[in-house]
């Protein structure tokens, strides 16, 4: 079976989305967030799997981790870089790269491949079956 046909949709010049920033675009009537994470771009659907909220408007922040230290103290820490997006409607958290829901990994946001080429950022979008 051949790979499904895709096309590239230009989002913006790379320089226009600084590290830590995002651009939300409409493609074929779908809202998609494109994030510059510093070490690369990611793109996720702007539709929360909870109740459809605009998750890509949410804050991108480091993830809260915790470990039990010898002696029993619970020490919380943050991941070194912002890697988690929280939906502004009710706070569901997702991995901003993979779209996986942190509280329930069986749920995930849709993600899209991002291509950086010749100074521009593109989304790779599957052609709609006609």
């Amino acid at each position: 079976m051949s790979a499904p046909a895709t096309r590239l949709v230009r989002v913006a010049p790379t320089a226009d989305i600084a590290p830590g920033e995002r651009r939300i675009v409409e493609v074929d009537g779908r809202s998609i967030g494109v994030f510059n994470l510093g070490d690369g771009f990611s793109a996720i659907a702007n539709v929360c799997v909870h109740q459809g909220g605009p998750v890509c408007w949410g804050r991108v922040e480091p993830r809260v981790h915790a470990e039990v230290m010898p002696g029993g103290e619970v020490r919380e820490s943050l991941s070194p870089a912002p890697d988690t997006i929280a939906c502004p409607w009710h706070g569901w958290e997702y991995d901003v790269r993979t779209g996986t829901c942190l509280a329930n990994p069986r749920k995930a946001l849709r993600t899209f491949p991002v291509v950086v080429r010749d100074g521009d950022v593109y989304l790779e979008i599957a052609e709609r079956a006609s």
């Binding site: 109740q51 408007w57 949410g58 804050r59 929280a86 502004p88 009710h90 706070g91 329930n104």
Partner: protein, 368 residues
């Protein structure tokens, strides 16, 4: 289809409520710092800004509702009727001062009737009763409960002592029966710490338990004290705890009743049968991964006839109508009842007539 939201919150400026009151209560309320006026509890509901309402409805102030913003908020939510409930007073029973509690409830009723309620547009409110003073609360019900914008009588269940089935509150129930309004029991996220078990560290703890505890306490007291038998015309609606807790208390209370019927001699049927005759706000509706589990709960609580949809907007755990429309095991007829028809039959929405259209144009937004 008419979509009724039986629980949304109006973020009022309490100093404005003072304008409706006589001195000296007027200045006492106006000049009081809010934190001291109505104490709340541990935790930041909005996760330090992570949950954010700023972009929900452009041009509105997400921290202070203005009267003309309510219809736009309703459009954003996709609802046709909204019962706006004071945000400030969600922990009202924690006030020791009777005069200030009565004053706030009076100012709130006056303000809502004067500035906010608009039955033709589906904007309603509720008479909130100061449980600290049942006689004065009954006066407020008689005075404001007949206004067309008032859909119900609301008890805030946090900290209410004695529990709300007690004869102590009979004047309020009598007045409510007289004006023909249903009783709403509204729990809130405050009230577990500083009252029952102090020392919880996180809001997720007090939130999960606080609402539930107060609804459970109210359900048990209302049933065991025979309120439905003593006031047979009253109808009861419980808000703000979802529905998954109901089977647990239904069957536990049945079990206790079978052993200790002599302690509840007014009852003429099993406690679970009373619970099946009460109404329950849906929000925040639980969604177990296995739909059959929720379907079984729906069956146990007679959901299609007893649930009333609520958003609880703008609180962090609000629901949209899609919480109901996406349930795969509920019939179209059942969805219509839960989203609107049940509320239309139990609340009083005088002055509202359904617009001349087949379906709400807003239902389109609901499918998201």
């Amino acid at each position: 289809m008419t979509i009724v939201d039986v629980d949304a919150h109006y973020l009022e400026d309490y100093t404005v409520l003072a304008d409706y009151l006589d001195e000296p209560v007027r200045s006492r309320i106006r000049n009081q710092p809010q934190g001291w006026l109505v104490p709340n509890s541990t935790g930041d509901r909005y996760l330090s800004g992570r949950i954010n309402r700023d972009r929900d409805v452009p041009g509105t102030n997400p921290r202070r509702t203005q009267p003309d913003e309510v219809p736009r908020i309703m459009e954003f939510l996709g609802v046709d009727i909204s019962v706006q409930i004071s945000n400030l007073m969600l922990t009202l029973p924690n006030m020791n001062s009777r005069e200030l509690a009565v004053g706030l409830c009076q100012g709130y009723a006056e303000y809502m009737i004067d500035k906010v309620c608009d039955p033709a547009k589906g904007v309603f409110s509720t008479v909130i009763v100061p449980t600290q003073d049942p006689a004065k609360a009954a006066d407020l019900v008689r005075r404001y409960g007949r206004a067309p914008g008032m859909s119900s009588v609301t008890f805030i269940t946090q900290w209410a002592q004695p529990p709300l089935g007690d004869i102590h509150y009979d004047p309020i129930y009598e007045a409510s029966a007289e004006v023909g309004l249903p009783i709403v029991y509204h729990a809130s996220g405050a009230g577990l710490d500083h009252f029952l078990i102090d020392g919880f560290q996180k809001f997720i703890e007090t939130y999960t338990l606080g609402f539930l505890f107060h609804n459970l306490a109210t359900l048990v007291s209302v049933i065991v004290q025979g309120l439905p038998e003593r006031f047979p015309s009253l109808r009861f609606i419980f808000q703000e705890s979802g529905i998954a807790y109901l089977p647990g208390i239904m069957y536990r209370l049945d079990e206790a009743y079978l052993k200790r019927r002599s302690e509840a001699p007014l009852l003429t049927k099993l406690p679970s049968e009373y619970i099946r005759s009460f109404y329950f706000g849906t929000q925040p509706l639980e969604r177990p991964e296995n739909d059959e589990h929720l379907a079984a709960i729906f069956d146990m609580v007679d959901a299609e006839d007893r649930l009333v949809f609520a958003t609880d907007y703008p609180h962090f755990d609000y629901d949209r109508p899609s919480a109901i429309t996406t349930l795969p095991f509920v019939s179209e007829e059942g969805k219509r009842k839960i989203l609107g028809d049940n509320a239309l039959s139990v609340y009083r929405f005088d002055g509202w007539t359904p617009p001349e259209r087949e379906t709400s144009p807003l239902v389109a937004g609901v499918a998201r």
